[in-house]
């Protein structure tokens, strides 16, 4: 090798090394912040489920300035979910939130491979040393929203657009129906299934089917405001879900249960940073602030608001539980005898409808 060639090689190596050092420096600077990851099933623009999580994430970022948060949206509950969580862990996330039920097994797989990373799975039931689950007692505000719907209906038919016949949704329908019944024993809740969490067109069609069947209030367990818009188009009322949705249908939305994930995210990320994070099943309610009721629409009269507020105070004080007996199922069988209350285990595996619900459940 001639000396000029040697020099050339030397310079090349030097430049390459300098590049490496600079790259290292950059990645070091980026790693100074505490990284936290999220995977979302939908888009924050869905104005519902994912938006609520995204607002929680932003709230957390504001409260904890030492955090850098990363999210990936529109991750299906398939093999892709496992890869995206692995990618987040490889990017240095110390704690990862997986915000859809179907991620459950994939969370477990990734958690096994990254024992030093904490995982939080929303709405599931599998925990591990480094996997916790979290959810909220949204059935409490659902019950309250049922009071509003039951007071406002004139046709005594309330449509309920539901995603899937799984315990979470069934529990919500039942809580809502019991709220309806508490003020209006004649009203029926008609359930229409969509078999999708997120599909504005299908959600709207399902709401229209309920409206065609005579419903004058539409409630929903869906991720977008489409059912509310269907109600608004017919001049009927709606009870929204996830986030306040009145801006999409101001003349329709009475109120609706909403999520407030921010404080939970703050406390868990703080715990992860402090090393005080422990696994567990978190299921907070109204008193914890993780669930609440959206602001009332202008059409809701004062006396109805008062009814709701009274019940809310009772729930907050622990004096009232929406699933306290006696409760009959829609075939007339007493499922919860007077004097007893359903246990959390029963609530988590709900597979029957209360008295005033019309709908089908797979058996």
């Amino acid at each position: 090798m001639s000396s000029s060639k040697k020099l050339l090689v030397f310079i090349t190596v030097l430049v390459a090394l300098a590049g490496l050092v600079r790259l290292n420096g950059q990645s070091y600077a980026a790693e100074e912040k505490f990284k936290v990851g999220w995977i979302y099933i939908g888009h924050p623009g869905d104005a519902g489920w994912t938006l609520a999580h995204d607002e929680g994430r932003k709230y957390m970022e504001k409260q904890l300035p030492w955090v850098e948060s990363i999210y990936v949206e529109a991750v299906p509950e398939t093999s892709d979910a496992e890869r995206m969580m692995t990618e987040l862990a490889r990017k240095g996330c110390k704690i990862i939130f997986a915000t859809s039920f179907g991620y459950m097994d994939y969370v477990q797989n990734v958690a096994k491979r990254f024992p030093d990373v904490y995982f939080e799975h929303c709405s599931g039931f599998k925990t591990a040393d480094n996997v916790a689950t979290y959810f909220g007692r949204i059935y409490e505000p659902r019950y309250l929203s049922g009071i509003v719907a039951g007071s406002m209906t004139k046709s005594n038919i309330i449509g309920y657009v539901g995603a899937f016949p799984i315990p979470e949704v069934v529990r919500g329908i039942n809580a809502f129906a019991l709220g309806v019944k508490s003020v209006n024993p004649n009203a029926k809740v008609k359930v229409v299934w969509t078999n999708t969490w997120y599909d504005p067109a299908t959600e709207k069609e399902a709401a229209k089917a309920a409206l065609d069947a005579g419903a004058d209030v539409i409630a929903q367990h869906q991720d977008t405001p489409a059912p509310m818009q269907a109600a608004a188009e017919r001049g009927k009322y709606g009870v929204s879900y996830n986030s306040p949705m009145s801006k999409f249908a101001p003349n329709a939305v009475l109120t609706g249960p909403v999520w407030n994930w921010g404080p939970y995210y703050v406390s868990r990320v703080q715990a992860a940073k402090d090393g005080t994070w422990t696994s567990g099943d978190y299921w907070g309610g109204l008193k914890d602030g993780i669930v609440d009721l959206a602001p009332y629409g202008p059409m809701v009269p004062e006396n109805v608001k008062k009814l709701v507020e009274t019940k809310k105070t009772e729930i907050l004080a622990g004096k009232f539980h929406p699933f306290a007996g006696p409760i009959k199922d829609n075939k007339g069988v007493v499922r919860v005898p007077a004097g007893t209350t359903m246990t959390d285990a029963q609530l988590l595996s709900f597979d029957w409808f209360v008295e005033n619900v019309e709908g089908t459940l797979p058996n």
């Binding site: 299906p76 509950e77 398939t78 093999s79 890869r83 995206m84 692995t86 990618e87 799984i166």
Partner: protein
Amino acid sequence: MGKGLIRLKLVFEKRDPVPVSYRVASPVLAVLLALVLGAIFLAASGFSPLGVYLEMYRGAFGDWYGVSETLVTAIPLALCGMGIALAGRMLLWNVGAEGQFHMGAWAAAWVALSMPDAPAWKVLPLMVLAGVAAGAAWALLAAVPRAYVGVSEIITTLMLNYVAINWIEYLVHGPWRDPASLNFPLSAPFSDAARLPMFGYTRIHWGLVFAIIAAIVIDLTLGRTKWGYEVKIIGESPRAARYAGMSIERNIIITMAVTGALAGLAGMAEVSAIAGRMTRQLSPGYGYSAIIVAWLAKLNPYGVLLVSALFGGLLVGGYSAQFLGVSAASVNMLQGLMLFCVLATEALGRYRLRIVPAAGSDGDSDADRQGARADG
């Protein structure tokens, strides 16, 4: 129009033969074109195009993990695409790989759930057989009416997708629902013996071997057997095939059964290796993406392997682009742009667009178009 104006019209002329330079250049040009168009879009949205492309590349091919995940995504695409390509040789349009995939997964899951204590050497081969048989049977539901009554397989295979997916929905919400899973729509998990092994620390599983074997077998069969010869002849000229005494009906049945079997095998591999239980979301649309894979691969089995890996990389890399803040919708757009450009330049490689005075009668241009369609 006034008398003084010369009327012009656009005419597609077939390039015959397609010059080799075009065949090589067109996909390269297409990708470049897509990258440039995508870059304009990204820059307008405030992203560094180069940064986004590098991140996509890093996610898909940048390290061993990315490559392994790209291959994991490529496996179902390759198996489904292989079958679609084979049917395509006979001008059969199987758009039902998604349904055949789900039926294959279903049958394999049924075996796994019925024999929870069986050892791997017993349960895995049975799962493969069940998956292959169910996929083939599902395709035959469309093949038989196509062969004997001439019912369009495009419609029937598509419709059967919905039936298959709803069948899975029914099972996981109903009879197969695992009581131990709190009434969530999941089957019971499979035993460890019923999980198709993965290689090393990756998620690459035996499905990759199946896909490679399938490519070799299909290539040899098409090139060296009487049946392969018949498939090609029927695809090129059904009338000639019939004069030669070939049974078109029988070949439709066999080809569709094989295409369904491959998609069923893909479903078996996915549910066994990746999911480990029956769930309601097994596929983000592999059976549909595989149609594009088959066509981009020009219906060549080895081409399907290669294109699946690239397509898998496009899907995997797309998620990585989100780490730079590019939204999922923008990523979908970039991916769509890429495919659109590849398909469009592919067509322009085969046809020449010419502007000619509209002197000839309409009959001529119709004939041109007819010719183009039959050849395409």
